[in-house]
């Protein structure tokens, strides 16, 4: 069975305001505006650009941010992905 990939549910549903200290994102589907720090912004942007498995995503983010893929790092990224999932922005699916 292929490993599920993280996708944006509706990439067009997000309106971005990017800034040096993070971003504000309007989620048109819910009408809510969210503030994301640079870290969270980078994760969400990565999923938007390329749907990826969790393992690929961890590798990609660690490479880009110069971090090590240790337990704390995995926990942090997973937690953030689950937050995005709860906001109905991303989902993991087997395609």
């Amino acid at each position: 069975m292929p490993e599920p990939k993280w996708h944006m549910i509706k990439p067009d549903a997000l309106e971005w305001h990017d800034a040096d200290d993070g971003s504000l994102v309007l989620h048109r589907s819910t009408g809510e505006t969210h503030y994301f720090n640079l870290y969270a912004t980078f994760i969400l942007r990565s999923v938007k650009e390329t749907p990826q498995t969790e393992a690929d995503l961890l590798r990609h983010i660690a490479e880009q941010l110069g971090e090590e893929v240790d337990e704390a790092f995995i926990k942090k990224i997973r937690g953030q992905l689950w937050n995005f999932e709860e906001m109905a922005m991303v989902e993991a699916r087997e395609t």
Binding site: H17, A19, D20, D21, G22, L24, L26, R28, G31, T33
Partner: protein, 304 residues
């Protein structure tokens, strides 16, 4: 005709039946049988124009006594907006505060056409300075200081922004001052008219600095927001501006807005653009004159 041109009896009768005032851009009808409030309206709204009873008001505010046993030992009043009453009763002698509270609530909640911010706003030659800030940060005092220094009063409490034109609308009303800032403003603007002081409120003592006739006559004007200043008053602080930008600036504006959520994407795109165009800073200052100087500095940046 101005309110101050009504005889005491005419005002009393009008207040009982419904006194309709021009409070641009709105028409407001105030109805009250309470003597204290009638006298206060004569003073605080003396420069406002009375309009005919046939004008359809945007807001109808009734301030009346409450029932119950309590009225026998301390009279209380309550404001009703049409038939709603989202307020808690106040003693009769604080009825002028009840009226101000009810008028602010009406503008904030019932004004669907404007993006409304909990922010003071003043202007000069069509260029407006927004002063957002939570209660107690010095928003109204800075606004009052600027008005006493020649700026036009748009509002000390609620900024009305038209997202289609990007312009702010003046809605001048008495400026609410609290505790130490009352005396500070009376010293800063000794010739200015002020209301009576009202003690024993949940926020301490409150008094109002009254708008000039010139502010009311210019109330139909619109201005372009060119700077945003968050006041951070602290006695003894050396004045300086701390620039604010990016996501934090955007976030501060969302927090200051009362009805941002109801504007959806239009509101988001408008604020996103505003934050990119308009400089924003926190003003640290320890006295009124220093606050005015920092505001002038912000506006000068736009001229440059």
């Amino acid at each position: 005709m101005k309110v101050s041109e009504l005889s005491a009896n005419a005002l009393k009768q009008a207040a009982r039946d419904g006194l309709t005032l021009s409070t641009p851009p709105f028409i407001t009808r105030i109805q009250t049988p309470i003597d204290t409030l009638q006298r206060s309206i004569a003073h605080m709204y003396g420069e406002f124009d009375v309009v005919g009873p046939d004008e359809v008001p945007d807001f109808l505010v009734r301030v009346d006594g409450t029932g119950g046993v309590r009225r026998f030992f301390r009279k209380q009043c309550m404001a009703y907006i049409d038939v709603e009453t989202p307020f808690i009763p106040l003693p009769d002698d604080l009825s002028p505060l009840m009226l101000e509270q009810a008028l602010n609530w009406s503008v904030a909640v019932r004004t669907g056409t404007y993006l409304v911010f909990h922010a003071a706003i003043v202007a000069k030659e069509g260029r407006a300075l927004l002063i957002p800030g939570a209660s107690g940060q010095g928003k109204s005092t800075l606004c009052a200081s600027l008005v006493a220094s020649g700026w036009q009063l748009y509002s000390d409490e609620l900024t009305l922004l038209d997202v289609e034109t990007g312009l702010v609308q003046a809605h001048p009303r008495p400026i609410s001052l609290k505790n130490e800032s009352i005396q500070a403003m009376q010293e800063f603007a000794p010739d200015w008219p002020f209301s009576a002081s009202y003690g024993g409120t949940p926020k301490g003592t409150i008094a109002y600095m009254l708008p000039r006739r010139a502010d009311l006559e210019a109330a139909g004007q619109l201005a372009r927001p060119v700077a945003i200043l968050m006041p951070a008053f602290k006695k003894g602080v050396e004045p300086y501006l701390e620039p604010m930008a990016g996501a934090n600036a955007f976030l501060q504006l969302i927090v200051s807005s009362i009805n941002y959520g109801s504007f959806g994407e239009e509101g988001f795109l408008f604020l996103s653009d505003l934050v990119k165009r308009v400089p924003m800073a926190t003003a640290h200052y320890g006295d009124n004159a220093a606050g005015v100087a920092l505001a002038e500095e912000m506006m000068a940046a736009d001229e440059g």
